[in-house]
């Protein structure tokens, strides 16, 4: 039974030995071409760009794109931030742990960057627009530094953005005092000046690592 399967293999790869030799030659040439292509590709990826400590997501996520209201009440889109390195983070001002930790880390990273920080914007998109009014948002983000901008949108705008960057958030049922938590993504999406998604920072990445990589991104 298995023997007949073996003979099937030879059928697939061609019966006549002449044509098989030909096929071997051809496939060797194809392999060589593939290897060359791979080498060139690797060289282009590895040697060309800087090495980052943060998770590299170049090519994985789409270009920065949104239409939301900023904490001054103006409609803004991704175009308004072209030319800046953008750090996009989803959270809410009542967040007990993740958001303050991450935003403090980012704030610390901005201080380390010094004057270079003026070329960076941290966009804090609220996933709790019901409680985070523009005034609340502005008071909250301005505590972290001048590079921080609070953004707010309606359900549709928020859903579109969360689908685009494949993030989830979920409102927990409220407690007796009406307080509720919102589970959300922990990622900071980092875009270069052209709006291309480049890096991903998490809660556990320290300010030094973030500052070093932002500097590399700014220099490249």
């Amino acid at each position: 039974m298995w023997l007949s399967q073996v003979s099937r293999v030879s059928w697939i790869f061609g019966r006549a030995s002449a044509s098989r030799r030909h096929a071997v030659k051809r496939s060797t040439a194809a392999l060589a071409a593939l290897a060359t292509l791979a080498a060139v590709g690797l060289a282009a990826c590895g040697v060309g760009g800087p090495q980052f400590a943060l998770q590299n997501v170049s090519g994985l996520l789409p270009q920065l794109k949104f239409a939301l209201t900023n904490d001054d009440g103006q409609m803004v889109t991704a175009k308004d931030y072209r030319g800046k390195i953008v750090l996009l983070y989803f959270g809410y001002t009542h967040c007990p742990d993740a958001c303050p930790t991450t935003l403090t880390n980012l704030s610390e990273a901005m201080k380390r960057l010094g004057p270079e920080a003026s070329r960076v914007r941290v966009l804090f998109v609220t996933v709790d627009p019901a409680r985070d009014t523009l005034a609340v948002l502005k008071r909250y983000v301005s505590a972290f530094g001048p590079e921080f901008v609070g953004l707010r949108g309606d359900d549709d705008a928020l859903t579109a953005l969360s689908k685009r960057y494949r993030i989830a958030y979920h409102r927990e049922p409220p407690d007796r005092n009406g307080y509720y938590a919102v589970d959300h993504s922990s990622a900071v999406f980092i875009f270069d000046a052209s709006g291309a998604a480049r890096l991903l920072a998490g809660e556990s990445d320290n300010p030094r690592t973030i500052a070093v990589d932002l500097h590399k991104l700014d220099a490249s």
């Binding site: 039974m1 399967q5 099937r8 697939i12 859903t159 989830a168 979920h170 927990e172 993504s185 922990s186």
Partner: protein
């Protein structure tokens, strides 16, 4: 996911990310099969209830895990994702293959199209290679030593943490992952479960099939157990992108591992029973044929 008011049932039934390809393929399959059933009935062939039921159930399951709110949950919860792949790679294809829908679907293709396609492949130089190349490719991936390697290899490939990370973050890779699981499931279970008489030149003996379904269970059990019992988080993408609801990351991973381990391996047991039934059925048919021949001779 959206907080405020309760959503209507339509919200949960609507595609989370609309894929025209999935909708088109599912709709076309359903239409072809339904048309074919009618056509066969006109020719006096009766298919009965259970085969169409099995086909439509499998198709509906595939559609449901790909084009409803379920897809959102699968993107943001590891164990829901594992259940999605259990449906795409194991359950739905087995149901579809059990219906042996090929004949009916072929009969459902409008006659004019069939004739035009045959003419094109026969007469036009540029098209002649298609059926030959298609048959060879099919024989290659359906080779009894290659098909199970592809089947198990795909599970391992997409569960490699770095690959999984990219697949969950990038829409194109996510689609490629789900398509590869669905299509490979159909190919593999067809090779394992279809009656030999319908397999043509790809026909595989029942003993080999039983050996193969036993063998594929082993790596699935090992991988599932490895994931379920691992004490650190292997797939951090769910934490990074946010889970669909609050659950401890390790609990999520444990459930996902168990789903990769137990139901997937149980499918091999089910498949073995189906193969044995086919074997006995064919044996008894052959026996009665021999008796009939002896009576005549």
């Amino acid at each position: 996911m959206r907080s405020a008011p309760m959503h209507s049932i339509l919200f949960y039934l609507a595609p989370w990310e609309l894929s025209p390809t999935v909708i088109l393929v599912c709709a076309a399959s359903a239409v072809l099969y339904a048309r074919g059933l009618g056509e066969l009935a006109r020719r006096g062939e009766r298919i009965g209830f259970w085969r169409p039921f099995s086909f439509f159930l499998g198709l509906a399951l595939d559609y449901a895990v790909l084009q409803t709110y379920y897809d959102f949950l699968a993107q943001h919860m590891f164990w829901v994702h594992r259940l999605q792949h259990l449906v795409l790679h194991h359950l739905a294809p087995v149901l579809i293959v059990l219906a042996s829908p090929g004949r009916a679907m072929w009969a459902g293709v409008p006659f004019g199209w069939r004739a035009a396609g045959a003419r094109l492949c026969r007469e036009r130089r540029g098209f002649r290679w298609i059926p030959r190349f298609g048959a060879r490719l099919f024989m290659l991936i359906q080779h009894p030593a290659i098909a199970p390697v592809i089947f198990v290899g795909l599970i391992f490939f997409w569960l490699t943490p770095a690959v999984h990370f990219g697949a969950m973050l990038n829409l194109q890779r996510y689609l490629a992952m789900n398509w590869s699981m669905g299509v490979d499931g159909l190919l593999f279970w067809w090779l394992m479960l279809a009656p030999r008489s319908l397999q043509g030149s790809a026909a595989l003996g029942y003993a080999s099939r039983i050996l193969i379904v036993c063998l594929i269970a082993v790596p699935q059990i090992l991988l599932g157990a490895y994931i379920a019992l691992h004490s650190t988080v292997l797939f951090d993408v769910y934490g990074i992108c946010g889970r669909a609801w609050a659950i401890a990351p390790l609990t999520d991973q444990e459930l996902g591992g168990l789903l990769t381990w137990i139901p997937a391996a149980m499918m091999s047991g089910v498949a073995m029973l189906i193969i044995l039934r086919r074997l006995l059925l064919e044996e008894s048919e052959a026996q009665s044929a021999r008796k009939a021949a002896a009576a005549i001779g």
